[in-house]
Assembly symmetry: C2
Homo-oligomer: 557 residues x 2
């Protein structure tokens, strides 16, 4: 394992930019903090990670993928609570006017400052008198709260509607719940995933890929029946994991034991922690640098039942990269209340319930003749009256006042068989920060070694997410070697899911180094012997092992 | 081939919504025109088409994928011309205030109204007096131009910067040209692709998936040396295509002949037309419903060399789905001028050029003693003077006026060897509207037939982009048949790139119909025999052919 240091971080960041993996965006135009490009090498890493994530969750068998817009009208995010609560506390330097996040200023003394109230932040800043990161002076204005959504307007000036760029993909799954429910033939549990852009108009972005204003995220919303106890096979994860629980602090424990002991408060949360751990390690994150931290009750949203962050240790310390939250019925209920649309599932009782109906109905022999066509509406209204109603009474029906006399009504008592009920499903949500995961995969894969007395770097990314599958190198670009090499390169690129890279210039050693530096798992060298016997040398990145292989038998899937 | 009609369109749209392929977004909150969801069935179609598109272009061997932000700062889109020119003409109804696109109001009389100037539109509207689509009255205000970008602000109130949601992905490739150039070891030609969201704040969106405010797009920017004649193998496309050329109208001709005859004005444009045709037909577009239409010179941007739209015939008539444009050096030059950064490629001359340098330099024996440290700057300034300069003269250097006397200078005449030069590469850009392609693939695949006397629909999507690979049906959900069916379903889902769907309820015939309707290519039926001999019935969607297959030998890759 590499030692993380600011020097190593600087060298790594320099390499990522120089070699086209990750670059500050819009740099020729001066750049803007919080925006990154995946360059000619990084672009495919991003796509491979996204696709691996999708496969990982779709393989559960009851999960589907959806894709909804990023531009979101105001009412959706008002219903979800983001208009009111998706805020950070901002404080402005009176000297230089630079805005800072209030909690960042005191986080070295209070690591959990991001859960402080405005008053707490104000008090601590007065006490600690932190200096402005921009000008070094300590002279702070009032703290104000700032909504973190990018806002925009949909449509043209006069009839435009307010909208935002979505802060998360999750709302798309909630607003299309009905469609997903129907797709699964109305049988819980099931889930829907979405991968795409999320936006957060950070006050002062920092830490490179960690805190972006536009980021790649991936979420699963998994809908369950709160009355069913789900028995997941947690024994498939035999190794102990590092958990930091709210009540018991850090522990090494298996998922199955943690769920049994109630440390993890719901078995589906524990199950998804295991699936998440598998995914994260499959893309090259070192399992020893992973821990799960449980949210403290005051840090968690009021509706949440349990919430665990998967944190990864790397060049920026421990960073939250995935959140796994049991959100109760909060989200569907919020949209149901805002829209009046039913966002529920049907639960059939094992045995139908018998319910006593006690109330009133009309006496048809009097109401019929007296009210004629209106009789049906009166029946509906009367049957809604409570059992203790007293007649005569006046009822408002279709804006008309109608006098209901004792002769119009009679007592109704009957039994009704209820076969089931509508309920709001609960949601368990694993939410992944794709950029943070890619960053840590690279951070953990980056190895600095000494080779023949010189500094040498290798990016040992897993093959499944490598940016390029193989580099093809002609020993010399002459005598037909380059033509054969190009042909091999082009044939490899034509294969499904294989990407080859042709590198013709420089010494072979230098070209191996270039290929190792960006994490290409194999190099193929084409030489004079290749022209004669149709074989090439295949060299493995991590071991340096070389092997002579027939061109027809090359395989990089 | 199906006959397109508005009735068929209504049935198709209804099915897409009911079955979770394509749905108006945010519908429970009242919806907003121009935004669609890919639902639980459509989501995977979108991803499959995106991935197929990527593979198609990456297989060329000199193309890489990048990914840049959608939020874009003002200067980038000012440089690209979008701030000034990405506009539509809007006209407001004086009666009901509804805004309409001016060209849409008269397009039944003038199909090319979208290329009219403001004055032309104004004149035609006065003549034709079209009625307002919202209120039916004809009383129009002045025409105004409206920028079509969604605008937003990056950062917090005081220090916020103006930005937009990108109208295309292309700018990401131009602003990171240097990184891509370096990746390809500074050797043209090469290309970069990007798939992602594009935004266009339409005045009045219509035609469902055809005109969206947020859309999925995919672009290739392919950089070439304008002095090289590229010889592409156009003979691989043996069939004639339908071309509508600017000068010669509609013709059936092969790509190779069209390039030879100069109808297609650049061979790389012709080459990409062929590659595009291959892709579009591979995702289920009927080749007989495709044509290429050349832009007329007055319709094309002033810098464009040639531009062809691939149009597809479907329920909305002929619709532009891909544009293939030779954009000259416009884009890189625009960013170079705005930023002062070099966005060029180096061209090495076959034989170095000898250039006669005729001009002036300083006489060190006088300038040195007189100007001391300043001498170097004077030398630089003097050597830039034209050969016919006359001394004494006054030069402004670093805000100082300096008098240059005849004694300070001497004539400079020498030869210089120039080994190459920097030049701005030209760009050929195929730009794909992914949503429009998916729409037409579905439109062409949707078949309405009569089966056993009843209406029956089949979505004959190609397997490569099907939403689900296979539906698993237990004959009955009892006697262990359902358990075996679930096990088969779960094992299939665990396979790489296979997605199975379990459907347990309803008659087998009804479930086949459900599966056919959304384009699942295979159904597996599990019955009593399956329990005995581990075989299942595999039924093919398009033929209805059934075959008994061993469970262990199922293969849907």
């Amino acid at each position: 394992m590499e030692e993380f240091s600011t020097d190593r971080l600087a060298r790594l960041t320099g390499m990522l930019k120089r070699r086209g993996l990750l670059l500050p965006a819009f740099e020729i135009h001066g750049g803007v903090a919080g925006f990154y490009d995946y360059g000619p090498v990084g672009g495919r890493i991003r796509n491979q990670v996204n696709q691996a994530w999708l496969s990982h969750w779709l393989s559960l068998g009851n999960v589907v993928e959806i894709s909804s817009p990023t531009v979101t009208p105001y009412p959706v995010l008002e219903a979800s609570g983001h208009v009111g609560e998706f805020t950070d506390f901002l404080v402005e330097c009176k000297k230089c006017s630079e805005a800072s996040r209030a909690d960042h200023l005191i986080e070295s003394d209070y690591p959990n400052a991001d859960s402080f109230t405005k008053e707490e932040l104000s008090k601590k800043i007065s006490e600690l008198m932190p200096i402005c990161p921009a000008c070094g002076v300590s002279d702070w204005g009032e703290i104000s709260s700032q909504n973190l959504m990018f806002s925009t307007r949909i449509g043209n000036a006069d009839s435009a509607r307010e909208g935002f760029l979505r802060p998360e993909t999750a709302q798309g799954m909630f607003t299309s719940f009905t469609s997903i429910y129907r797709h699964f033939r109305e049988r819980l549990p099931f889930g829907a995933v979405q991968i795409g852009k999320g936006y957060r108009n950070e006050i002062s972005p920092r830490q490179g890929m960690i805190r972006l204003r536009e980021f790649n995220m991936a979420e699963l919303e998994y809908f369950i029946d709160p009355e069913i106890e789900y028995h997941h096979n947690l024994d498939q994860w035999k190794d102990s994991l590092t958990l930091i629980s709210e009540n018991e602090g850090e522990m090494r424990v298996t998922l199955s034991k943690a769920v049994e002991a109630g440390v993890i408060r719901h078995s589906t949360v524990g199950y998804f922690m295991g699936i998440t751990f598998d995914f994260v390690t499959s893309i090259g994150i070192n399992p020893e640098l992973i821990r799960f931290r449980q949210h403290e009750s005051n840090e968690m949203a009021h509706y949440a039942v349990d919430c665990w962050d998967l944190e990864i240790m790397g060049s920026f310390g421990w960073i939250e990269c995935v959140g796994i939250a049991h959100r109760g019925c909060y989200d569907l209920e919020a949209h149901e209340m805002a829209t009046g649309q039913r966002l529920r599932a049907w639960r059939t009782f094992e045995t139908p319930k018998i319910v006593e109906i006690d109330g009133w109905t009309i006496d048809g022999s009097t109401v019929g003749p007296e009210f004629k066509n209106f009789a049906g509406k009166i029946k509906n209204a009367v049957e809604k009256l409570p059992p203790d109603s007293i007649f005569p009474m006046s009822l408002e029906i279709d804006d008309d006042e109608v006098n209901i006399e004792p002769r119009h009504v009679k007592k109704l008592q009957r039994q009704e068989k209820i076969s089931g009920e509508w309920f709001i499903p609960h949601v368990v949500e694993p939410a992944f920060g794709i950029d943070r995961l890619i960053w840590h995969s690279i951070d953990h894969s980056y190895r600095e070694i000494i080779k023949s007395g010189e500094a040498y770097t290798i990016l040992s990314l897993p093959k499944s997410i490598s940016p390029i599958d193989v580099t093809v190198l002609p020993l010399f670009e002459k005598d037909g070697i380059d033509e054969l090499a190009r042909k091999i390169h082009e044939n490899l690129c034509k294969r499904d899911r294989v990407l080859s890279n042709y590198d013709g210039s420089g010494s072979i050693g230098r070209r191996y180094a270039r290929s190792d530096e960006i994490g290409v798992p194999y190099c193929i060298t084409v030489d004079y012997e290749s022209l004669e016997n149709h074989t090439v040398t295949v060299r493995e990145r991590d071991t340096g092992k070389q092997e002579r292989v027939k061109i027809d038998e090359l395989n990089f899937n």
